[in-house]
């Protein structure tokens, strides 16, 4: 491992790709009892080429933050900068999303799905075919180009979905629990593939998850979030170069980091459950 520089150290010197400054998000009318503070005054920087994970209990506002960064809806307060641009709406040239469930349109074949994505993004038509082919081959799905998504398994679909995110060619990819719907084994394999793809392409990734193992295995830095309202509780650095082999998961370092993350998260998860119970009682 001596020939590869530690990833974090390399990333530390790089320019900031995403800067999140004092971002808050409230839902419902201000001051009213149904007001929910989803994200509370969060600030963080993501450096170029860094893989950052937002780890937190359900409902802690991590997906909300991701949507704000991607310009899908405006923050109640605060500013997000991508490069030197403030985010005011979607930035299809800079940011692509990979969502929780496969967001391939069921009415289009895989090829048509890629085509329409390129069309949305205004990519020159001459590039469509080659980029589609290249991305699908990177995830070993080249043979399924003319299938409809419904003809594929959930795992294959998410593989294609990942390929689409990469094919869009943006420097930043935001991933909202992309592997949540997959079984443990598929999830591991896709995680390894992702780590490898990233090492090759050097993308900046913000990844939302509530899987501890996934967070430790993939991230350079893990932002552990508090239960609602979402704040940053702590930052864990994972000093391990990409691509990471599955052997990394067997090392003491991995278990140590995983335990550290769990210790930080445990109380927040309990609090999130209590909050959910409270909300339910209030409704009843």
């Amino acid at each position: 491992m001596s020939e590869s520089t530690p990833f974090r150290a390399a990333a530390a010197g790089r320019p900031v790709a995403i800067s999140i400054r004092n971002v808050s998000q409230r839902f419902g009318d201000a001051g009213s009892p149904n007001e929910v503070v989803a994200v509370d005054d969060m600030s963080l920087d993501v450096r170029r080429g860094e893989f950052v994970c937002l780890l937190g209990p359900s409902g802690c506002g991590k997906s909300t933050l991701l949507n704000i960064v991607g310009g899908l809806f405006p923050a109640t307060d605060g500013v997000v900068m991508v490069g030197d641009k403030p985010v005011k709406g979607p930035l299809p040239r800079d940011i692509s999303f990979v969502f929780q469930e496969s967001t391939l349109f069921p009415w289009y074949t895989i090829r048509e799905n890629f085509d329409v994505a390129f069309k949305f993004q205004n990519v020159a038509k001459s590039e469509w075919a080659s980029r589609t082919k290249q991305a699908l081959e990177a995830v070993n799905m080249g043979a399924f180009i003319d299938h409809y998504p419904n003809q594929l398994s959930v795992g294959m679909r998410q593989r294609v979905n990942l390929a689409r995110g990469i094919a869009l060619g943006t420097d930043i990819i935001l991933m909202d629990e992309p592997f949540a719907a997959l079984d443990e084994q598929t999830r591991m394999v896709l995680g390894e593939d992702l780590s490898e793809l990233l090492a090759k392409t050097g993308k900046t990734i913000v990844f939302v998850t509530h899987s501890l193992a996934e967070a430790v295995f993939l991230s350079d830095r893990i932002f552990v979030m508090t239960a609602r309202p979402g704040r940053i509780k702590s930052i864990i650095e994972v000093d391990e170069p990409h691509p990471r082999s599955p052997d990394f998961m067997l090392t003491p370092k991995f278990s140590e980091l995983r335990n550290q993350a769990y210790a930080l998260l445990r109380d927040e998860v309990r609090q999130a459950i209590a909050l959910a119970r409270e909300a339910e009682a209030a409704h009843a």
């Binding site: 991607g70 899908l72 692509s96 967001t103 349109f105 009415w107 949305f120």
Partner: protein
């Protein structure tokens, strides 16, 4: 069982029905039912029914070729009716889609305008026919307008219904890739609402036809409605039924067109 014995029944199936596939059986049953109905109609009209009100199918077919299709005035009337229906239908689709899409686009739009649409839909338009005549005269414009007024409602209602429950993630994903509102309509809303849309298009087609024919019957000076009325009032059922058959063929033709279009757009479901 010996091999020879097993072969015998398979080799000797002279029975017509037994040798057919299930699908062929269905088709032949259907044909036989239709044939039976025609024969029953023929017998009833020839021997039992009042010849001024009923006409046997054989006489209707004869009238179709001897009276209806040879008369240039009636041919003109059929052609005109067909054009009216077609124009009215195309207009109903365009207006229905535009109104439906704009009403169904947002929760706000749906809650503000949808009840109004439903309210208008509930009014029996026939009572407004005199107003249509006053506004559009007694020419084709009146029939087209009346057809449109019938056809748009099921289209609007089904477009609005079809736009509900679009997976929000599809919309979010498309927006993040830079999709414009038009892109969203074309690539997300439209494919999502296709089944509902086509239900609306088919209903809309039937109602457009109804609207046009209704207007034709009430106000017509030489159109298909005029001829229908003429034959009915002079107790001449053969050409009357022949004319009705022509209208039926028109309806079936248009319905088939919609069905073919539907199949084209729902290939991904299979």
């Amino acid at each position: 069982m010996t091999v020879a014995a097993a072969r015998v029944p398979a080799a000797s199936t002279p029975s017509f029905i037994g040798g057919m596939s299930r699908r062929a059986k269905v088709i032949w049953t259907r044909r036989l039912v239709l044939l039976g109905l025609v024969v029953a109609f023929e017998i009833y009209a020839r021997f039992i029914g009042n010849p001024r009100l009923f006409s046997p199918p054989s006489a209707i077919v004869y009238a179709l070729f001897d009276e209806i299709l040879v008369d240039p005035r009636i041919r003109g009337a059929i052609y005109q009716a067909f054009t009216e229906v077609l124009v009215a239908y195309v207009m109903a689709i365009i207006i229905g889609l535009v109104v439906g899409l704009s009403v169904g686009w947002s929760n706000f739009g749906r809650r503000s305008f949808y009840p109004i649409v439903i309210l208008l839909y509930a009014i029996p338009q026939v009572i407004l026919l005199p107003l249509f005549v006053l506004t559009f005269g007694i020419g084709p414009a009146c029939k087209i307008a009346f057809g449109v007024s019938h056809g748009i409602f099921p289209i609007i209602v089904n477009v609005v219904a079809g736009m509900r429950n679009v997976n929000a993630l599809y919309l979010r994903s498309a927006s993040s890739m830079g999709a414009s509102n038009f892109d969203l309509a074309r690539h997300v809303y439209f494919p999502h609402m296709v089944p509902s849309l086509f239900a609306g298009l088919r209903l809309g087609m039937t109602l457009t036809l109804l609207g046009v024919i209704l207007a034709e019957l009430y106000v017509s000076t030489g159109g298909i409605g005029y001829w229908t009325k003429l034959y009915a009032e002079t107790f001449d059922p053969a050409p009357l039924f022949a004319l009705i058959a022509v209208l039926a063929v028109m309806a079936i033709l248009l319905n088939e067109l919609v069905r073919i279009a539907e199949r084209r757009f729902t290939r991904w479901r299979n």
